[in-house]
Symmetry: C2
Subunit: 338 residues, 2 copies
DNA sequence: TTGTATGCGTTATCAA
DNA sequence: TTGATAACGCATACAA
């Protein structure tokens, strides 16, 4: 077995209490004895037992990260930024991918909670549902540890939200499109998560604002957004009954498919056909032509989220909700006037 | 505080030993008392304290996953698959992104080791270096827990490797290209990791095989592979001194840039210019035209890796090295004869 | 099949 | 500034 605090105390000629003090950075230790102990620790390569430590401290400085699918381009980036920020604050990350089933979300949240994490971060808006009832597991979890929401909002005790104003972003960009040369705009989306509905709401508000019925211009795609051909077929189907010369998409991948659709139809982008994606992901610069997209400030959001969490864990009063504004990053699939 | 095993034993009218037995699935408990205990546990929502449990069992059923950058498309997928497989086997994942600095890799490996993980998985070939000395930290870690390598190889005790034969894949595809109409092929790459060098080796072998000097046809790009414009500029620079009409890339993102280069030059793909990427990532179907790419069997590899790990943890004899074969997925950027 | 008692390696309280 | 010792919550050897 490995060394214990007793071994170290013996070799250093002190009690375990003193060793423990040094280990935990207590100030009330004579610097000479501190040096002595540190040297012994170094020499024998001693590392405290994590379990025993957790038992004493009631914490292992570990944060649970829940995510429906960390292989998704956007969520992967979110998880990465969060992990890096946590690391910088001396915390580790317990990652758990739940999938989309509500049962699994609850199951894994409780599982990860039983591992005595110091907090839980819910990455992505898929964890918040419309019904109070379905969100109850989050409220329950928040009774034990602070719960942080990225891209979602819920007004519960001990739950903190960091999000981007998807509603305004989509509203603004829709208005812009409606005033452009390609004003026959449709909206395609795939998710009715919290942020999914906010985006849809922004689009609808803008369309309704010019006296049209938004429901006629918003189309939900059910399927894998990365199966580009399927999405393109979906658009071809829509085109049979609706005329459109621009597409706003809730995800970059959907927008990419719209570009493929335009290419198939021989439409010139952006002259005759304009496309706007969402997330400003790596796909934007990889597509031809490069994709205009809404940047929803992922990295600043994750910073804010982790900062807020650290404050909460230190007992400070922190904002319950942090709101960012998105911005349009124009590339080659649009030609708005400046 | 939350309930302890003592509370449960009291409420169920048995000793803590019996409760513990039920908790750990021991068979020598009368089924009626087992039922009784289970009911109490259910009723009060008792969950054992993870730290105390870990102390007794010397394990928390947690695996450390180390990765240089989990936001990379390929690595993110790898992490995701691994996490899912571990979950299916009742293990949790402690994720740690180290970045590319060797010091940090060592630091975090030791840190994560001190958290008493049952094993460590090194995702991606960046953890293995050419020098024995730089790999020593891995050998040391393997003295404590089994170390699993994805996409890398190292012949140490208690280290298990799962990888794809990148050498052969690149060799085969290069030969194919050399025999095609677009036989002026160059290879662009960005990494000299273990697998990076294997790919380069395969390309070189094929080119040398026809009596040419491979070094004249392989170009290393130093920079962010997702900065498409930079990569395109890099190719433009190469074109000043080298004639080429096909590109094999070590990463899909680099191949995408090659497509942009072709578009800029007005070259028809695949008639006059062919491109092959690597990883068969989502970028392939997102690009226009869709990208031919080498699939290196990520998901099967991760399955094998986790299966091997589970065997090792159960004390079974398992293969030290598992080798997969890549395969070419042809799309619109190549037109090889069948 | 069940219960008792001890150990696991820390932290923290109290006294010196 | 230090040391002795009692928790912490569970697993398990041993006894019954």
């Amino acid at each position: 077995m490995s060394l214990t605090i007793y071994d170290i105390s013996e070799k250093a000629g002190v009690s375990i209490a003193t060793v423990s003090r040094v280990l935990n950075g207590a100030t009330n230790v004579r610097s000479s004895t501190k040096e002595k102990i540190l040297k012994v620790i170094e020499e024998y390569g001693y590392a405290p037992n994590a379990f025993a430590r957790g038992m004493g401290l009631h914490s292992l400085k570990t944060i649970g990260i829940l995510c429906v699918d960390s292989s998704d381009i956007y969520l992967a980036k979110a998880v990465y930024y969060i992990e890096q920020d946590l690391q910088a604050n001396g915390y580790e990350s317990l990652l758990c991918c739940t999938g989309h089933q509500v049962d699994m979300k609850k199951h894994y949240l409780n599982l990860i909670l039983s591992k005595k994490v110091d907090s839980i971060i819910l990455v992505g808006s898929y964890f918040i549902s419309n019904t109070e009832e379905d969100n109850d597991y989050i409220r329950q979890a928040a009774k034990k540890v602070p719960v942080m929401l990225l891209n979602a909002s819920a007004d519960y005790d001990n739950v903190y939200c960091t999000l981007c104003d998807d509603y305004s972003s989509t509203y603004d960009v829709t208005v812009k499109m409606l005033n452009s040369d390609t004003s026959d705009v449709i909206y395609i989306y795939n998710s009715e998560s919290y942020s999914g509905l906010r985006k849809l709401g922004g689009f609808s508000e803008a369309v309704n604002g010019i006296g049209k019925n938004a429901a006629d211009y918003a189309f939900k795609y059910n399927g894998d957004i990365y199966k580009t051909e399927d999405v393109t077929a979906f658009l071809t189907e829509i085109a049979k009954t609706h005329r459109f010369n621009s597409v706003i998409a809730s995800e970059d991948a959907l927008a990419i498919a719209a570009l493929k659709y335009a290419a198939q139809k021989g439409l010139k982008v952006p002259e005759d056909f304009e496309v706007i994606g969402y997330n400003n992901s790596v796909l934007c610069s990889c597509s031809t032509p490069s994709l205009t997209s809404i940047d929803n400030k992922l990295e600043p959001m994750t910073h804010q989220l982790v900062n807020t969490l650290m404050g909460v864990l230190n007992g400070q009063e922190m904002p319950k909700k942090s709101l960012f504004n998105g911005s349009l990053v124009e590339r080659e699939t649009t030609s708005f006037e400046k």
